[in-house]
């Protein structure tokens, strides 16, 4: 069996599962934010449930609309806050306490290898970076999980992506995924799992593996996953004293298909409007003027990402033809970015810093685009109107390309900076 089949068979209490089999799985952890979670809280009352299955296996994290930009958003906060208090949920993160839900889930030790985690947010696939099976679900199903602690799954067919070669300077996990998206296509992995492996992935930090798995949903995948190793173990042990099991794919594991990618000589990749698979290399994009650059999100808002950008920006100024918005993915990252001087670098360069949150990524607030504006963002989706007006344009890139472009005001290859 491959790693996903092993995790799902364990969760279903079965010796073996096969692709397309429908199973009933035990859930190890469940997460909601305020956007999806207020529906869960309302549904929970509607059905007359009196208690949650296990308050210690639930996280409630405000992240999309923090601090509340409108009274309507504040109402969502009120509903989930009251729910968290009523059911004594220890894993509740209010405004100023957590940050983007997926980053908080990882930092607080709620994600462990071999476990099954569901979240009412599509980027829940991020936790595959620690060898867990994790996927996004809707609010109605989450209500059922909150009550029963179980959920049905169809065992996915899995595509193995074997990555070899060493990245050039300024090239990394984001570029690799955008390349994969171009190869697989926007809906090319619908209902499937993506297992990332090979020497390049083994050499990657957990932070980079998060970027890879986070974007699995962008090609329709149900899960992205990396086999756990020493890096995984060290990361998890630094976050929790709970025990966990490292499940790995068998040598003779079966896959839907295998893709081999060599990253040697890969140049920075950019997804152009309006689809994540509309990918080209940065050098192909001449004179794309940018009104805004956005650095942040569960995809690329971690300390490693901020460090890469700060190294490029240090002692320089953001071009007066554009604006840069930096949003650390969590409060912990914000503190580390202050302690290491990164925040100082960004502010001195002329960037606006926003509170740890989803920010403008989903088009809510903190950097919404006007009609006709163009933005380069380190986030994960560039759907029409994703960050604001339907007539705005969104390009996606790595933090390195974002920082270089902030200095010039147009899409720029960081290796070409003088």
């Amino acid at each position: 069996m491959n790693i996903i089949e092993k995790i799902l068979s364990k969760a279903a209490g079965m010796n073996e599962v096969v692709p397309d089999q429908i199973i009933d799985a035990k859930i190890d952890y469940a997460m909601i934010n305020e956007i999806t979670g207020y529906l869960v809280a309302n549904y929970f009352r509607d059905v007359g449930a009196k208690k949650v299955w296990d308050p210690n296996r639930i996280a409630i994290i405000l992240d999309h609309t923090i601090p509340a930009p409108t009274a309507e958003a504040a109402e969502l906060h009120r509903i989930v806050r009251a729910f968290a208090r009523e059911f004594s949920i220890p894993g509740f993160y209010d405004v100023g306490r957590g940050g983007v839900c997926h980053q908080v889930m990882m930092e607080k030790g709620y994600v462990k290898p071999g476990e099954v985690i569901v979240g009412a947010d599509s980027h829940t696939v991020t936790y595959g970076s620690l060898g867990a099976f994790s996927t996004g679900i809707g609010s109605t199903e989450m209500t059922s999980v909150f009550i029963t602690g179980r959920l049905w799954f169809k065992v996915p067919r899995v595509v193995k992506i074997d990555v070899s070669g060493e990245f050039s300077k300024f090239v990394g996990a984001k570029d690799l995924f955008l390349h994969v998206a171009k190869e697989i296509g926007f809906s090319g992995a619908t209902y499937m799992g993506l297992e990332f492996g090979g020497s390049t992935v083994k050499d990657m930090s957990v932070s980079s593996r998060m970027t890879l798995c986070n974007m699995a949903i962008e090609v329709g995948a149900k899960a992205g996953i990396v086999e756990p190793d020493d890096k995984t173990t060290n990361y998890v042990k630094s976050k929790t004293s709970d025990s966990f099991t490292l499940l790995k794919s068998d040598k003779d594991a079966e896959y839907e298909r295998t893709m081999d990618i060599d990253v040697t000589n890969m140049s920075p990749q950019v997804a152009c409007p309006d689809a994540v698979d509309n990918v080209t290399t940065v050098s192909e994009l001449d004179n794309i003027e940018l009104d805004q650059i956005y650095l942040g999100s569960c995809t690329n808002g971690r300390i490693q990402d901020l460090q890469v950008a700060a190294n490029i920006l240090k002692g320089k100024k953001v071009s007066t033809r554009t604006r840069l918005i930096v949003v650390p993915a969590s409060q912990e990252i914000f503190v580390e970015a202050m302690n290491t001087g990164l925040i100082q670098t960004f502010v001195e360069a002329g960037a606006a810093i926003a509170t740890a949150s989803c920010g403008a990524c989903y088009g809510g607030h903190l950097g919404i685009l006007a009609s006709g504006e163009t933005c380069l963002s380190t986030t994960n989706r560039n759907f029409i109107g994703r960050m604001g007006d339907p007539n705005s344009k969104l390009y996606l890139s790595s933090p390195a390309v974002a920082a270089a472009s902030a200095l010039t005001g147009q899409i720029t290859d960081p290796s070409k900076l003088r």
Binding site: T190, I217, A275, G363, F383
Partner: protein
Amino acid sequence: MIVDANVLKYGDDINTDLIIPGKYLVITDEKRLGQHAMDGIDPDFYNKSRNGSILVVGENFGSGSSREQAPISLKNAGVKCIVAKSFARIFYRNAINIGLPILECADLWSEVRDGDTLSIVLEQGTITNKMASRIFQANPLPPFILDIIQHGGLLNKLKKSL
């Protein structure tokens, strides 16, 4: 269950941000969500659909976010059933769970026009285009999914079990 309504036809890859843009996710009133359904692709959608419609769409309908507001807004805009060439995974489950019938049928899309009247028998997955007197066969829904839809959604099933 039989669904009769007129067709509203759209193309491939209609994602959740087109169905209900992020700025509307703070709206808690389902009727108001319905008024903004498909806002990203057809601002006049609500007026076209409010008296009942069957959405006929292409590949990968509902890709992107896990927001249940996407099927909720469509249901509250009068959509009675969605027939797609294919659906994105989370949207597929969400629609069923809120009791919005959906079917996958590869052949229908190219054979219907906006405004055609369809009659759908959900149990059998048969779709009749009354304008052209033609019958199409969708992939039949598995019994446990049909059961959720016949209950009017997963919450009604949960209520019974508690």
